[in-house]
Amino acid sequence: ACTSVPVDERGPADAPTIDDVAGREPVPTIQLLTKTAANDPSRFELSRMIVEAWQEAGIDAELLPVDDAQLNARTFTGKDYDAFVVSYGPTPERLDPDNLLSRFQSDGATDAGSNVSMFVDPGYDAAYLEQNQADDAETRRAAVEEAQRILYDEVPVVPLIYPVVGAAYRSDRWEGIEPAVGYPLFNVWNATAATPLDDRDTLVVGTVFDPPTLNPVLVDTLESQIPLSLVYDTPLAIDADGETVERAAESVEVSGSEVTLTLRDGMTFSDGTPVTGADLAFTVEYLRDTAAPLYAAGLSGVSGVAADGQTVTITLAAPAAAFTDVTLTQLPILPQHVWSTVADPTTFTNDAPVGSGPFVLEQRRIGESLSFAARTDHYDAPAADRLELAILGSFEAGISALTSGEIDLYDDVQPATQYQSLKEADGVTVVETQSHGWRGLHLNTSRAPFDDRAFRVALRALVPYDDLVDVVMEGAAEPGGSVIAPSLEQWHDPDLAPFEYDAGAAMEALADAGYAFGPDGRLYYPETGS
């Protein structure tokens, strides 16, 4: 017979109890915000399980699923929450630790600031700054380790799981496709490397994400970057292993706050104009000055740009380690002769983008498809003649389209289990990669009881990590630990062990801090004055 998943062995074994609650306040009900089951079923499941475990342990908690916008408004832009479940995707920029670490700086701990957990810790700020401005790898790594250790110990955030993400392609038709970090299959490397095994000439990539715009000034989501990266070259790029490598730039030199790039010779934009350092210099200033949502933040530290032939020197106000690894690996090189004539870049649709990338946009049909033609004169010329991005109506549509062969490659950052049914499909290869993104629990350290580290530690110990991995993720995940995922080997601190469910430790932490369960079964704050 079927039974519900037992939550036994989790009882508050040696929970601190008291008979007299005089002089104590009860801990209010904790609200855990999450997305609705409709928006994100597995996140909803994770959250439900956590709340159930907390309740089981005697802590009053309730689940509050809300819409995307409401969730964002209450958390990222409002900070009006107790705890919420977040999902940090495995985006390329997160291959560098700076992106995640930057989210815990004290000066971002305002209602509209980027420090969602409202975490304030001067020691952390120092560590963050050090890694950000370090100019040698060793110092930076040490500072990164220090920063992640502080987050691990102070618990403003609890990474719950690192999902294993899946992707799949028709290996009976294409070769040369290799899994990479970030988006494992759909990236510029595979787009150019994919080679047909038969006489087909178009690589058809399925996606549920309809890239909203091809105007770099307007692009505001990381996902929209991918089509952009096919059309526009970037000076640097992150390769399949997560290393920063040269791309349009032949060489890059960093000395203190000065970055010097030398562009390849002989590159042309798709309209035939040669690519020069002036274009890159223009781009840097243009995207900074037009406040392009995706790039302006990274470029804000640029205090000066100078171009000389193919060489460009960028001066930063202060050294920034992430500038090369994050900003320059994303930055599309724009043709100055096109953009300098654009009257209002915010209404410019950029229907026929002129770039120096390996592909040119042939046609874009909103909600249906984008098709690209390969540029044979590119230094990394694609093996296939064309690439088509087919916009799908739903994730499941992509699964069936790959099965039936309507698409060749499908890479929609989803847990690997979602690709399960493809494993049996003929001619399809499913790729599973350990994500460097994670799902986690942000705790609002600016309000009680989350302002108390002991309480945060207790809550963290009451999360049933194994169940999250086994039941919700169906095994396609690793239990959480540091904010820098273990898969980012060069930054992850291996000393920080994965979390484990440990009710005893939780109760101990509560008892030590003076919390106790009253005769009514509720948890009470420590006695005031003590």
């Binding site: 519900s4 739903s394 499941e396």
Partner: protein, 293 residues
């Protein structure tokens, strides 16, 4: 007027019962209502519980069997229990939606038809405009703007569905107004309010009930459609949300039962209601209007 509704309602039920072919629908309807009322006590499992097999494996995607007559979902939940729990929300939305709509529709129709002139013209232009708004896009947008909640859903239903009832009632009132017995009431010295509520309104009640019955099915389908599109209130369970889960699970081709049974429930319920409506209609047809002694 509520007394009129009560008597008309009871007499209607009796007559419908005697109408051939309606018994089955009435029984089916009764069953649905019963399930909605006592669902939580008869559901074999917690609808949200992730079930395990005896060997500790999650009870994922089990086809219909004795143990799980409607099978289980890919999360290992019992579909039958979900359908049973979903009945309540579905029916509540259906009936409350229909009630609100009928009340609005009947009153708009009564006032427009009876007052005539400018009031009528204005109300009818508004009704026309309501006809220009197709329900589903309207509701989707409304939910998108005001948030996913039952109140918004009912608002959407109430905001549009009254239009048919209003039109029909208005037409009825216009014809009643010209009927000699209403003119006779005026000649007899009845004031407008008395004419409207004593002579006209009771003759509209059975029509309103009929539209009420049909509106229940419309509201149920509306709720289910929105839920299916993922616009149900968070954490709610209805036949539509079960199907939404099934549809977005990517495992529909291996767990057809997940979507099949909640859909079947909707179909049977709607069928029951339409059959009832028809039975009521035919039971009503010659009752009061009979010209034969």
């Amino acid at each position: 007027m509520s007394a009129a509704i009560a008597t008309v309602g009871w007499q209607a039920a009796q007559r419908v019962w005697r109408t051939p072919g309606a018994k089955l629908a009435l029984i089916g309807f009764g069953l649905f209502v019963l399930v909605a009322l006592i669902g939580p006590w008869i559901a074999p499992y917690d609808p949200f519980a992730r079930l395990q097999l005896a060997n500790g494996e999650p009870a994922r995607s089990i086809p219909p069997s004795l143990e799980h007559p409607f099978g289980t979902t890919s999360y290992g939940r019992d579909v039958l229990s979900q359908v049973i729990w979903g009945t309540r929300r579905t029916l509540v939305v259906g009936f409350v939606g229909a009630l609100v709509t009928v009340v609005i529709g009947v009153n708009v129709g009564l006032v427009a038809g009876f007052a005539g002139g400018r009031t009528d013209a204005l109300l009818m232009r508004i009704t026309d405009s309501a006809y220009a708004l197709p329900f589903l896009p309207f509701a989707i947008v409304l939910v998108g703007i005001l948030g996913r909640s039952d109140v918004v859903l009912l608002l959407a239903i109430a905001a549009l569905f009254w239009r048919t009832t209003a039109r029909v009632v208005r037409a009825q009132v216009l014809s009643l107004k010209q009927r000699p017995f209403v003119r006779a009431a005026v000649v007899g010295g009845a004031r407008p309010r008395r004419v409207l509520y004593r002579h006209i309104a009771p003759n509209v009640v059975s029509l309103a009930m009929l539209y009420g019955l049909f509106l229940v099915t419309e509201a149920v389908i509306a709720e289910a459609s929105l839920s299916f599109l993922g616009l149900a209130p968070p954490d709610s369970i209805s036949w539509g949300t079960i199907m939404f889960d099934a549809f977005t699970s990517t495992e529909l081709n291996t767990t057809w039962w997940w979507a099949f049974f909640p859909g079947l429930a909707i179909m049977l319920f709607v069928l029951c209601m339409s059959l009832l409506g028809r039975a009521y209609e035919s039971a009503q047809a010659h009752r009061w209007e009979s010209r034969q002694p």
